[in-house]
Amino acid sequence: MTVAAAVGFVESVRRGGIAVSLGSSRLFTEALAEIDLGNPDEVYWTARAVLVHRPEDIELFNGLFAAYWCGVDSGLVWRPPQEPSPVTLALDDPEIPADGPDEDDNRDKNDDSITVRYSTTETLTQKDFADYSDEELAESRRLMEEILFMGSCRRSRRRVPSRRARGALDIRRTVRQALRSAGEPAEIARAVPGSQQRRLVLLLDVSGSMEPYARALIGFVHASVASGARVEAFTLGTRLTRLTRELSQRDPDRALQAASRAVKDWSGGTRLGDGLGRFNDEWGCRGMARGATVVILSDGWDRGEPQEMEIQMQRLARVAHRVVWVNPLKASPGYEPLARAMAAALPFVDDFVEGHCLDSLHELARLVLGGSDGRSPERDLALSGVGSQR
């Protein structure tokens, strides 16, 4: 194996869709000089340690490795190591049309409430997302950027100087100040606990029934992630997709393009319970949801078992600081949370709010930022009770 071959391999890994920096590619050449090139396994593990930085890329990498080396160097026989098979969520029953639930909901288009129209903005703020034209959708993206959607504050471990005579002794600053007065600690500096923004985790349902809302809400999610606050974003459909990376670029068009490339199940079916389960397993319960405000944007239509929903919501509620459910259908007159998954989830939800128009998103942002300090007592009751029912 030559340096040229190695460079060629890095090139094919890049083309295959794994980002490899110049530094890593140089490091790869350095690393190859250290190992036994006759041993395909060693070459494989070396390439992986240097070029792959995310477990999601391992499978793709294995394919690229096999294709490249076993093609160029016919003498090389190599098989990828055994990996645990990825969990795939079952697809929905094809007999039920993806947009089925929407037919049951007789959302009457509430136009009579907007009688006076001063300007486009004025109109847009209360207009239902589902009724947006493409121009209005584009306009709404700009307006969404103005919404300050970030987590509330909590006490942090880090202490900050206090101006008043309260808080614990800050000996570091006291000594610094003492130096100014030739070593006489004339002033006692004090410090009080600072504050830290809570992480905000957004889970957007992108199934067929949510489609008219999801296309607007994804813009909201983008604006929030790109604002630089501590925000994580995922989509839920037949699978779970993390979008934080894709959405963190500022330009909305490019971010949304990247997002639509990443989300493979846009407007598909829903497995809310399973999707939440994956979120809990892979991210949430490990720490991302711990102490965070979790916002689920979904209409609550789910083809999975409501029990699964109940179990997963319970797990989520146990680690999260606060769970907010945003349901665009809630705004329609006479709405009752009859969808089975929605009903199963509600006991674990602290705030159940609407999210069908710009005004309601402003309301949501205020609610999340303000951070009511108490959890809902109903939720605490549900958390202590339901476990024993299983």
Partner: protein
């Protein structure tokens, strides 16, 4: 091993693998290669994986092998330079000031000299990161930066700076540069993504649960009194339990604990009563216990006994 004191001179992956084994750690090929490269190329090694698969243990074992100190930084939100790198011993500084004053040394003209004395190395409290960089005699230290995903972005950026050129600057004293860069192990449970720049600086390995054969070996190594038969059954039962879809699949340390517990009860093979009595060492959530029961404990044990 003749050159065991300078692991940087290892010449093959097999040698690393053997040395780790001698120090009671059984690596798979991937991990051994990653460690080998980290030693040879003097790069930090970033280990990610499920909790309990032995990420932290790698650092401990490396320190045993090398014979240098293990310097550990447990990351948490809000960790800052004062906890990770250095701090001045303010109480002693104050005391020194008072003494200087009492003996009349603190006259106005000498204030500057006094300041210099105060920021002398003897008043410096070295935290693990500085300790690792300023180390200058004996075997190289192993620096373990544990659960880096818990620290905040600012600390990560600072870490990147230190790991890029292995030097730390303290304004009052000057720059410490590592004579011999420490072996650095960084672990993450992936509660958030570690920054790309830090990942690029490091070699990367995703640590998995071991396959059954290796887990049997691990159990026997850490619980030598457990019979071959029981170890094999425990390992295959643990592997089966991991397939059930639990909230917290048992890690290697849990399997070892379970085998030890069974052994203490005098078990020679898996039997339902003893398993039920000892299951809490393996499964840490009530829901998980229930799920395994629902799944059919008898059948699972029968399969493991084969």
């Amino acid at each position: 091993m003749a050159d065991s004191n300078d692991p940087r001179s290892v010449s093959s992956v097999a040698q690393v693998s053997d040395a780790l084994r001698e120090n009671r750690y059984l690596p798979d090929d991937g991990l051994a290669t990653a460690v080998y490269l980290a030693l040879r190329l003097r790069r930090p090694l970033l280990l990610e994986g499920e909790p309990g698969v032995g990420k932290t243990e790698v650092a401990r074992v490396l320190a045993d092998w090398i014979g240098g100190p293990l310097l550990r930084i447990q990351c948490y939100e809000g960790i800052d330079v004062n906890q990770a790198v250095y701090e001045w011993d303010y109480a002693r500084q104050l005391l020194y000031l008072r003494t200087a004053e009492a003996t009349g040394a603190a006259r106005a003209g000498e204030a500057e000299a006094l300041t210099d004395e105060l920021y002398d190395e003897r008043f410096l409290v070295r935290r693990p990161l500085l300790e690792a960089i300023a180390h200058n005699s004996g075997p190289s230290p192993v620096l373990l930066i544990d659960e880096v995903d818990r620290a905040d972005d600012e600390f990560e950026a600072f870490l990147l700076e230190v790991l890029a050129d292995y030097s730390i600057t303290i304004p009052e004293i000057g720059t410490f540069s590592a004579v011999d860069p420490p072996v650095v192990i960084v672990t993450s449970n992936r509660t958030r993504d570690v920054h790309d720049a830090l990942k690029r600086r490091c070699l990367y390995h995703w640590v998995k649960h071991p396959e059954i054969a290796r887990e049997i070996e691990i159990i026997k190594l850490h619980a030598p009194s457990v019979s071959e038969r029981l170890a094999a059954q425990v390992a295959s039962a643990a592997a089966a339990v991991r397939q059930v879809g639990l909230y917290k699949p048992p890690g290697v340390s849990e399997t070892i604990d379970w085998a030890r517990a069974l052994d203490l009860l005098g078990a020679k093979e898996l039997a339902v009563e003893q398993v039920e009595a000892t299951f809490p060492t393996l499964l840490k959530y009530r829901e998980d216990l229930e799920r395994v029961q629902d799944h059919g404990l008898e059948a699972l044990l029968a399969a493991a006994r084969e």
